[in-house]
Amino acid sequence: MTHTHPTLTRWRGPITFITLLAAALLLLPLLLEPFRLNLLAQYLCYSIVALGIALAWGRGGMLTLGHGVYFGLGAYAMAMHLTLERAAHDPLNTTGLPQFMQVTGATELPLLWQPFTSATFAITTAVLAPAALATLLGWSVFRQRVKGAYFAILNQALAAAFVLLLIGQQHLTGGTNGLTDFPTFAGHDLYTPTAQTTLYTLTVLTLATLYLAFRHLTRSRYGKLLTAIRDAEDRVRYLGHDPTWPKTLAYALSATAAGIAGALFVPIMGIISPTLIGVIPSIMMVLAVAIGGRYSLAGAATGALLINAAQTTFAETFSGTWTYLQGALFVIVIALAPQGLAGLTTTLKNHLTPTPPETTTHPQPHKAHT
């Protein structure tokens, strides 16, 4: 097989990728009704988050239990702009202030909100704010060799604090209700099927681009350095490498992906609120990656798609059972299939078509990081 058709093997990856991309872009918008397409776009936003988590956690060994924060930063930046656009175009709104602010008795737009009238500023912030926060946090803890479980806990603490802040600063953030109802973006009606298809297409393209970019990264020398740091951080130092910047970069890129996903999510979903980005949603983002396969970018993205589809299907009708199932999934996947679905498919493929030994070895659960 492999040596009889070397060309076929080399092109199998790109062919699969292009086929999937073409199907997603050309076929699905025709087959799915707008409502389903919108749901799919939502799930794909979580796939983008999953790519980032797979990079930081799977490759870099940094368990990020607070990615909801970065997703939230991107989402709120976008939502603030959309809220302002709605207020500006609402003929009944004479103050130009968002509705929730009028309720709390504000008379003029808070300083924090003012620059968000510009779409460019909002989008730039959605990308840069997560990157900046992650760089700051990552650099300050990684350089002090805080890692493993400690780092995971700090992430979770950040998520808890961030949500409290959003709820508490109601006059700025809309509190528990969050920000919702965004009819237009740049004057275009967001509720039309065309707009929904455009948003979906944009999400697919973003996912594909980030996938290719991260895939390149993991195959570069940098990616190998990251894997080496994951497996034996101390050893890397004696080869003259400082682990701080590679780790910070992976973490920041992963946060950026989450921020971009959040910004896309808002016009698609039509709402962002603290319940979507707190401690539990953050850990669900990690569960999705664990299920799909933390060592595989494609696996992680697929896992996020599946778990979110399952969530919509089960959560409303069998909410209790679904929680049990999620808890059980954590235990089952981590205990029995630490490489997730991606690991299972590789095993299956190797069973059907034996390959040379060097391609069959894939990462074992990595060593302790404490």
Binding site: L225, Y238, L239, G240, P246, E358
Partner: protein, 249 residues
């Protein structure tokens, strides 16, 4: 000229003194063996030179510059490389990638972001030198114990250090592997300064010219094998009580 100078070095862990006012000078091109019973402070000495452990007192200069306050990776970049008692290689990377990683510390971050299509010649050359060419594209996890030790040495060489610190390089190796490692060591010694911690007496007899004996954190004596073996204190603390055991591989 002296490459590494250790002055009045003391390292304590709580109440325990691991190194006690050590003074040691290494000259360029030297091949120095470090022996001593368990707990003598051999590994602590290497740990302190490479920045893994900080001195409680005293200082270390390398090429006439103090290095004991530098982080590990800076010391490594200055040209000091080391191996570990239990070899640590990157199991999920190929043998070639393990070595390649050791050559790239001087690259800027953006230069690392490129994926090289072919292996650099230096990597091929080093693979050849340690005899791991047949395993170039195998995952390091598939290597035998001896091969892993060689891979560690290969990674060291790839980083182009001036000073190599090897912590028990032949531990757990069979006779053939020991001989190959010994030859490799002699070969490397021609253009490197090397410190080797080793217990194995056969190995010492064949390859050691300069031996420093550590005991309870202090330097007991220094000299060639005969001098060491005839030194009364050494006989007492190190060889004296169980001379036969030292001969068994």
């Amino acid at each position: 000229m002296s490459l590494l100078t250790i002055t009045d070095l003391t390292v304590t862990f709580g109440d325990y003194t691991a190194l006690d006012h050590i003074n040691l000078t290494l000259t360029q091109g030297e091949l120095r063996f470090l022996i001593g019973p368990n707990g003598a402070g051999k590994t602590t000495l290497i740990d302190t030179i490479t920045g893994r452990t900080r001195p409680t007192h005293g200082h270390i200069t390398y090429n006439n510059k103090p290095i004991h306050h530098l982080p590990e990776h800076r010391i490594a970049r200055n040209g000091i490389g080391r191996t570990f008692q239990t070899s640590v290689v990157f199991e999920h990377l190929t043998v070639a990638d393990n070595i390649d990683l050791a050559t790239t510390h001087h690259l800027r971050p953006w230069q690392l972001l490129r994926a090289p299509r072919t292996l650099p010649d230096t990597v091929h050359h080093i693979l050849d030198r340690v005899g791991l060419t047949p395993h170039t594209h195998h995952k390091a996890a598939t290597l035998s114990h001896g091969q892993r030790q060689w891979l560690e040495i290969a990674m060291l060489l790839a980083a182009r250090p001036q000073l190599l610190l090897l912590d028990e390089p032949v531990a757990g190796m069979n006779t053939d592997e020991r001989t190959r490692t010994g030859q490799l060591l002699t070969e490397i010694a021609t253009d490197h300064t090397i410190v080797v911690i080793e217990h194995d007496m056969d190995f010492l007899r064949r390859y050691a010219r300069d031996i420093t004996v550590l005991h309870e954190g202090r330097i007991l004596t220094h000299g060639d094998l005969t001098t060491i073996q005839n030194h009364p204190e050494v006989q007492q603390v190190y060889l004296g009580h169980t001379p036969h055991q030292e001969h068994t591989p």
